[in-house]
Each structure stands twice: as structure tokens, then as C-alpha cells.
Assembly symmetry: C2
Homo-oligomer: 225 residues x 2
Amino acid sequence: MRDAYHEELDSISDDLVEMARLVGSAIGRATTAMLDADLQLAENVIAADARVDELQHELEAKAIELLARQQPVATDLRVVVTSLRMSADLERSGDLAQHVAKQARLRYPESPVPRDLQATLLEMGQLAQRLMAKAAEVIITKDIDLALQLEQDDDEMDLLHRTLFQHLIDERWKHGIETAVDVTLLGRYYERFADHAVSVAKRVVYLVTGEHADAIQAVGPVEGS
Amino acid sequence: MRDAYHEELDSISDDLVEMARLVGSAIGRATTAMLDADLQLAENVIAADARVDELQHELEAKAIELLARQQPVATDLRVVVTSLRMSADLERSGDLAQHVAKQARLRYPESPVPRDLQATLLEMGQLAQRLMAKAAEVIITKDIDLALQLEQDDDEMDLLHRTLFQHLIDERWKHGIETAVDVTLLGRYYERFADHAVSVAKRVVYLVTGEHADAIQAVGPVEGS
């Protein structure tokens, strides 16, 4: 019984890792589609999100079946409930990658991003992808130090986001309002994507330590974990 | 045993309704704070969100205890899992109301919204509040027809959102980029708030009918429910 149980739990964890892998790849490809004004790539990203949604539904069904049949308690129960929450974070990240791709599609054959902001948005896209890759690694390894690193990476995202806004409100801005609106929304999508990756990592910290990540952050890295 | 179980389930439902009431009130007050440049009211909304977060933690703790002690199956299990998801929607709605209030605080003593857009944003704020009031009513009554109404209300929000964008990209826009950025973000916050209210209602539909709301919408209202 316990073996079947752990197999099911592993299968849920595998789904989470696969979702993280898919949405990490999606944000990378959406960024490329946006910067290169590549319509075909944008369409691919938009279509591929269906698989992420499907995985979330499968994961939810598995979790409910596991709760009903195995009736886990204590830590095991918390693992299942937390997995449901992580899957919601990952599903939403997929939506955000899709939003970036839709913005690329909307402005095709132009890029929604003017040349002088392409470097900043490329950095945001790459950072978002790295954050999600680390979140996947945290799910697999349950490495608390790595999980806490994600919050620092997120500070870097906040910095890039602020740089973006400074460009926008600079009086020398010459790209007009529509582009300002596009860039504002794109900046928001990357920021939220990063938030969800951090949230996934924090939930793993909570599972492993029983403490919220913020509390651990405040007293420095966890010893011997 | 079943009595204790149903009492706990009712308590979870009460928490959801209370969360919906709080965030509905928060979006209404945040809208007023934003339009009137009322710093005190904005600060109140920002501080009050802590109670919503607290309720979510309480709800999660209750749900996990209920799963562990009562080990519900089938529909009852689905109710608990869905309640967890609804609480996440409501918690996030609270964040979005807080974002509106923070934008009001950031631009104080000015309003972030120029006079000619105040009517549109007032409508968005009122609609958001009505949507959340209806979502609370759907949680209490499990009224499927009312739940399906929320999707129509959401179409109205999309329309208001489009009106807002048309103002922004109108060549006669004279409020500058910073205001355009503010209005873009505010529009996004209301749109997402409405999405979460609709999501809560859809989850109730799924619980009651076992079918996703979209499928029901496609074939018209449910008979005799």
C-alpha cells in the first residue's frame, strides 16, 4: 500500500517538474518570438499551453484520487495539498508566457518592444527562464539553499522591472503611448512569472522545514538541510 | 462524527464568504481612494489585506485538519479541495485591491486617474465589487444561474477595459506616459480581480454539476438547478 502511495506521490512530483519544464521553455520561446517578431514561434507557444493545462488537470485528478484512496495524514497530506498549490502557480506561469506570445502576435510583423529596450526585456526573459529552471530543481532536490537563492534572483527581476519603468517615464521616450502600454504589460507579465517561480520554491521550503521561507530568510540560510 | 464534519465544512464555507466580503469591500474602497486621492482610505485598504491573508491561512489549516481527521471521499473531498482553490482566488483578489490602493498612495496628493477617465474606472471598480458580491452569494446559495451570470458581467468588464485602452491609444491623449502606465496597470488589476470572481463562481458550478462552467454555458442554463 505504501509503495503504491509513494509511486503516486512521485508521479505528482514528476508532473510538477514537467509543468515547470514546459513553462520555463515557453517563457524562453515567447521572449524570442516577441523580440524577433516571429509569428510562427508565437503561435507555437500559444498552442503549447494547452498541454500545461492538461497536466494540471491530470495532477489534480491524481491528487484527489490519492487523498480518497490512501488518506494520507500529517506531512504526506501537506505534500499533496502543497502540490495542488504549486500546480496552480505553474499553470498561471504558463498563461503569462502565453500572454507574452499573444502580444508578439498582436504586433506582428513589428516587435512590441523598441530596439533600445530589447536588451532589458531579453534579460527579463532569460531571468524568468532561469528562475523556473531553478524552481524545477528545487522540486526535485528539495535544496533549501537553492530555494532561498530564488528570492535573490527575484530582486534582480525587480531591478530590471524598475529599469524598464525608468525608460518609460524618461522624457526622451519617443515610442508613443501604444508601445508604452505594451511594454508596461510585458514588464508585468515577467514580474508575475518570476513571482510564481519564487512561490513554488517557497512552498518547497515550507514543506521541508515547516517554516515559511520569509522567516528562514530573516535568520540566514538553514544549517545542515 | 458526520455532524462535526459538516460543522467544519460550514466553517470553511463561512471563511470563504467572509474573504469575498472583505475583498469586495476592499476593491470598492480602493477605487474611492484612487479617484478621490484619499491617502487615509488607501492606507486602510493596504493594512486591511492582512486579515484576508490570515483568513486564508486559517482556512488552509482547517481544510488540512479536516482532510486528516475526517478523511472525506468523493464529493465531500472535492468540496474541500475546491475550497482551497477558491481561497487562493480570493487571497489574490485582495492583493489586487491592495495594488489599486498602493497606486493611489504612490500618486498622492494627485489621483493616478485623469478626470476624463474617472467615470470609466469608477464603473470598473463598481463592477468588480458587484462581481465579488455575486461570487459570495454563489458560494452561499450554490445558485448555478447566478454563477453563469458572472461570465456575462465579466464581458462587461472586458468592454470597459477595451474602452480604457481606446482612450490610451487615442492620438488626443494628453496625460503623458506616466499616467498611461498607471492606467494600464490599474485596468489590468480590475480585469484580473474580475477573473478571480468569475473563477470562484465557476468552481461552485463544477462542484454542483460536476461539469465545467464553459460546457454548461455552451448549451444554455441548467434546467431545474
